[in-house]
C-alpha cells in the first residue's frame, strides 16, 4: 500500500485546516450588521439632511423618541423571536392596554397608578393566554396571535363604544396630574440640566410662541428611559443569565432543549408575557404623553417590531439574535423613518423608500455577516 500524505501533527492545539480570521474574529457577533447599518444610515442622512435640523437638539430628540418607541416593542419581540415564537398581536395589545388605562382612570375614576397596575396585570395575563394556547395546541404562534390581533382590536373598539359612546377617551393627563406612576411613564427627566443648557446657550431656545425663551428640549422623556432600561434588561437577561440560555435553547430546538431538561413551555410563556409587558409599557407611555387612548392606536406596530428585530440580525426561525442588535435595528428604523421627513421626500413615495431602505438594510446586514464569518 502507498502512504501518500504525511501523518498529521500529534498535538491538535492549532488546526492547519482553519485559515486565520485575525481581527475578523472580534467582529463575529449578531449585532455587527446593525452597527454597520447604523453607521451607514447616519452617514446617509448626515449628507442628505444635514441642514434640515435633523441634528440639532430638537431634531435629535425627535428621532430618538421614535426610535425609543420601536425599541420598547423590539426588545419583547426580539426575546420572543429568539425563543422561537412570534407575536402579531403586539399592535392590538398596545391599543387595548391604552384603552384599559383610559377606561379605568377616566371612566371608572380609579387613581392612575392603580389603573396602570391593573392594566399591566391584565395585559400580561393575556400574553400568558397567548402562550398557553400556542403551547397546548401546538399551533404556530403566527395563527394564534393573528387571532388575538383581531380579538384585542375588536375589544378596543367595542369597550369604549359601549361604555363611553366614543372611541377616543381623553382627559387622562388631567387625571394623572401628580400621580407618581403616571410620571414614571409620561414624565421627563433631567429638566434642570436642559434648563441650564438653554440658559447657557448650549441648546437653542424658542424664539416665538407661548414658550419663547425656554430651551427647545426641556428634558428626556421617560419613553427613552424605558427603552434604555428594557434594552439593558433584555441584554443582560439573554446573555448573562441561566434563563437567557434557556431562551436560546427553546428557540434553537425545542425538542432537544426539552430533552436536556430546559422547561421550554415555561420559557415560551414567559416570553409571551414579556412581550405583552413591553407592549403595555409602550401603551402607558403613549397614553400618559398624549392624554388620550384611541381605538386606532398601535396599528401595524407588530410588523415594525419584527422589522427592527430582523434588521438587528435575529433569525426569524428562532435561536439566534441579540437584544442590542434589535435596539440598533429600532434605531435604524426610527432614523430612516424620521430622516425621510427631514430630507423632504415626496410623501406619497414615503412607503416606497421605507420598503427599499429596509430591504437594503437587511441585505447589507446579511451580506456583511457572511463576508466576515466566511459562511456561504
Amino acid at each position: 500500500m502507498s502512504q501518500t500524505a504525511q501523518s498529521p501533527s500529534t498535538s491538535d492545539d492549532t488546526d492547519e485546516r482553519v485559515k486565520d480570521l485575525g481581527w475578523r474574529r472580534a467582529l463575529i457577533r449578531p449585532e455587527l450588521g446593525g452597527i454597520v447599518g447604523t453607521i451607514a444610515v447616519f452617514l446617509f442622512f448626515g449628507l442628505t439632511a444635514y441642514d434640515s435640523g435633523m441634528f440639532n437638539a430638537q431634531g435629535i430628540l425627535n428621532w430618538s423618541t421614535v426610535s425609543a418607541q420601536f425599541m420598547i416593542i423590539a426588545v419583547g419581540a426580539c426575546l420572543l423571536m429568539i425563543a422561537g415564537e412570534f407575536d402579531l398581536s403586539v399592535g392590538s395589545m398596545i391599543g387595548f392596554a391604552g384603552m384599559l388605562i383610559a377606561i379605568f382612570s377616566v371612566t371608572l375614576g380609579w387613581p392612575v397608578w392603580m389603573a396602570i397596575l391593573v392594566t399591566f396585570v391584565l395585559a400580561v395575563l393575556i400574553g400568558a393566554l397567548n402562550g398557553f394556547i400556542v403551547i397546548r395546541t401546538g399551533l404556530p404562534s403566527f395563527i394564534v396571535t393573528l387571532a388575538f390581533l383581531f380579538i384585542l382590536r375588536g375589544f378596543t373598539i367595542y369597550l369604549p363604544q359601549t361604555i363611553e359612546r366614543k372611541t377616543i377617551i381623553g382627559g387622562i393627563r388631567e387625571a394623572a396630574e401628580g400621580d407618581w406612576l403616571g410620571a414614571v411613564f409620561g414624565g421627563k427627566i433631567l429638566k434642570g440640566m436642559f434648563q441650564w443648557m438653554g440658559e447657557a446657550g448650549l441648546i437653542t431656545t424658542f424664539e416665538r410662541g407661548t414658550r419663547a425663551g425656554q430651551p427647545v428640549v426641556d428634558g428626556i422623556p421617560m419613553l427613552i428611559v424605558w427603552a434604555i432600561v428594557l434594552v439593558i434588561f433584555g441584554h443582560v437577561l439573554l446573555t448573562k443569565t441561566r434563563f437567557g440560555n434557556w431562551i436560546f435553547a427553546a428557540g434553537g430546538d425545542a425538542e432537544a432543549a426539552r430533552n436536556s431538561g430546559v422547561p421550554v413551555n415555561r420559557v415560551k410563556i414567559y416570553m409571551f408575557m414579556f412581550t405583552a409587558f413591553c407592549a403595555t409599557v409602550f401603551a402607558a407611555c403613549q397614553v400618559m404623553e398624549f392624554g388620550s387612548a384611541g381605538a386606532d392606536r398601535g396599528l401595524l406596530k407588530e410588523f415594525e417590531a419584527i422589522i427592527a428585530v430582523v434588521i438587528g440580525g435575529a433569525l426569524l426561525t428562532g435561536g439566534y439574535g441579540s437584544v442590542l442588535g434589535a435596539a440598533l435595528g429600532a434605531l435604524i428604523f426610527g432614523v430612516v423613518q424620521q430622516g425621510l421627513f427631514f430630507a423632504g421626500v415626496e410623501s406619497s413615495l414615503f412607503r416606497v423608500f421605507l420598503g427599499i431602505i429596509l430591504l437594503g438594510a437587511v441585505i447589507l446586514n446579511t451580506y456583511i455577516r457572511r463576508m466576515i464569518t466566511g459562511e456561504r
Binding site: 439632511a49 434640515s52 435640523g53 435633523m54 440639532n56 430638537q58 431634531g59 425627535n62 428621532w63 423618541t65 421614535v66 418607541q69 391599543g95 382590536r153 378596543t156 373598539i157 363604544q161 359612546r165 366614543k166 372611541t167 377616543i168 381623553g170 382627559g171 424658542f206 424664539e207 416665538r208 410662541g209 407661548t210 414658550r211 419663547a212 425656554q214 427647545v216 403613549q286 404623553e289 398624549f290 392624554g291 388620550s292 384611541g294 381605538a295 386606532d296 392606536r297 398601535g298 396599528l299 406596530k301 423613518q337 424620521q338 421627513f341 427631514f342 430630507a343 423632504g344 421626500v345 415626496e346 410623501s347 406619497s348 414615503f350 412607503r351
Partner: protein, 289 residues
C-alpha cells in the same frame, strides 16, 4: 313599526370620527322605534364595502343609508339595492348629483372637495400662502380631496405639503415636528380629523408654535374643541356627522310610515366652528358633535 335600517360606512373600524355616526343612528333608532345596524369594511377597503351593501340588500331591510365615497365602486350595488325595493339615502360623501343618479331618495352631507375649498378660501383671506396637510388616512380618496381643495383655493401646488402621517400619535407628532423643523416658514397647518389633530396640538405645544401658526382642522373632537377654546386652533370644519346619521333614519321612517319626504337634499356642513359659541360643542364633542 319595527322597520329595519342599515347604515354602511366606508371607514375602517378603528376610525374614531365615525363614533358620532354610530351614536346618531342609535339615538334615532331609539327615538323612532326602529331597528338600526351599523356596518363598515374592517380595513376600509371600498371593494369590501360594496360587498357589504350587497349583503345588506340581501338581508332585506327597509332602507340603507350609505356613503358614496367611490361612485364607480358603489353605484352598482346601490342601484341593485334600489331596484330590489330598498330605499337608499346617501350620506357623508359623494355629491347630490351622484346620489340622484344611483336612485337614492336624497343626500345628507358635506362634499369633501368643496369643504376643503371653502376652508382654503377662508385661510387665504387670513393671509395664508403655504401649509402642511397632515393626512392620516392617505389611502382613502376623500382625504386627498380635502387637502387638494384647500391647496386649490390657496392657488398653490399640493406637492409635498401633504404628508403621509400614519395613525400612530407619536409618529404623527414627530413627523409634524420634523416637517416644521425642516420647513420653518410654513404658514398654516390643516389636519383631517381628531386622529391627526390631537398629536399635532401636542407637537405645536412642544415646539412653541402653538397659537402662532395658523391651524385649521376638519371634524371635531374633545381636544380640538379645547384647542379652539385655547386659541391654538383657528377653526374647525364641522360637517355635523350626528345629523348625517340621525336625519336619514328619521326621514326614512317617516317616509315609510306616512309617505312624507323632504323635497331637497340636506347639507349638514361645512360649518366653521370658532371660539365663539363653543359651549354645546364642548359638552358633546366626540359623542354627538
Amino acid at each position: 313599526e319595527g322597520e329595519k335600517y342599515v347604515l354602511v360606512s366606508h371607514a375602517p373600524d378603528s376610525d374614531s370620527w365615525w363614533n358620532t355616526i354610530k351614536n346618531g343612528i342609535a339615538l334615532a333608532g331609539e327615538q323612532m322605534g326602529v331597528e338600526v345596524e351599523y356596518r363598515n369594511p374592517p380595513t376600509g377597503d371600498l371593494a369590501d364595502m360594496a360587498r357589504i351593501i350587497e349583503q345588506a340588500a340581501a338581508s332585506g331591510p327597509n332602507g340603507i343609508i350609505t356613503t358614496l365615497s367611490d361612485y364607480d365602486v358603489l353605484k352598482g350595488p346601490i342601484m341593485d339595492a334600489v331596484a330590489s325595493g330598498v330605499d337608499v339615502i346617501i350620506m357623508n360623501s359623494g355629491t347630490p348629483e351622484q346620489a340622484r343618479e344611483v336612485g337614492a331618495l336624497m343626500y345628507v352631507g358635506q362634499p369633501e372637495y368643496d369643504a376643503g375649498f371653502a376652508a382654503g378660501q377662508r385661510a387665504k383671506a387670513d393671509g395664508v400662502s403655504s401649509f402642511l396637510c397632515v393626512n392620516h388616512y392617505i389611502s382613502s380618496p376623500s382625504s386627498t380631496e380635502r387637502c387638494q381643495g384647500f391647496a386649490d383655493a390657496l392657488g398653490v401646488e399640493l406637492g409635498d405639503q401633504m404628508i403621509d402621517s400614519g395613525q400612530d400619535p407619536a409618529e404623527i407628532k414627530n413627523r409634524v415636528l420634523a416637517y416644521l423643523n425642516a420647513n420653518p416658514d410654513t404658514d398654516a397647518i390643516l389636519t383631517l380629523g381628531p386622529t391627526s389633530a390631537d398629536p399635532t396640538l401636542l407637537a405645536l405645544e412642544e415646539n412653541g408654535m402653538a397659537g402662532d401658526i395658523y391651524f385649521g382642522t376638519f371634524d371635531l373632537g374633545e381636544n380640538i374643541v379645547q384647542g379652539i377654546k385655547d386659541g391654538v386652533i383657528n377653526w374647525g370644519i364641522d360637517q355635523q356627522p350626528f345629523l348625517q346619521a340621525y336625519l336619514p333614519v328619521v326621514v326614512l321612517t317617516n317616509y315609510h310610515r306616512y309617505g312624507v319626504l323632504p323635497g331637497n337634499n340636506i347639507n349638514s356642513g361645512p360649518g366653521f366652528v370658532t371660539a365663539d359659541g363653543l359651549e354645546m360643542v364642548e359638552k358633546f364633542a366626540g359623542e354627538y358633535r
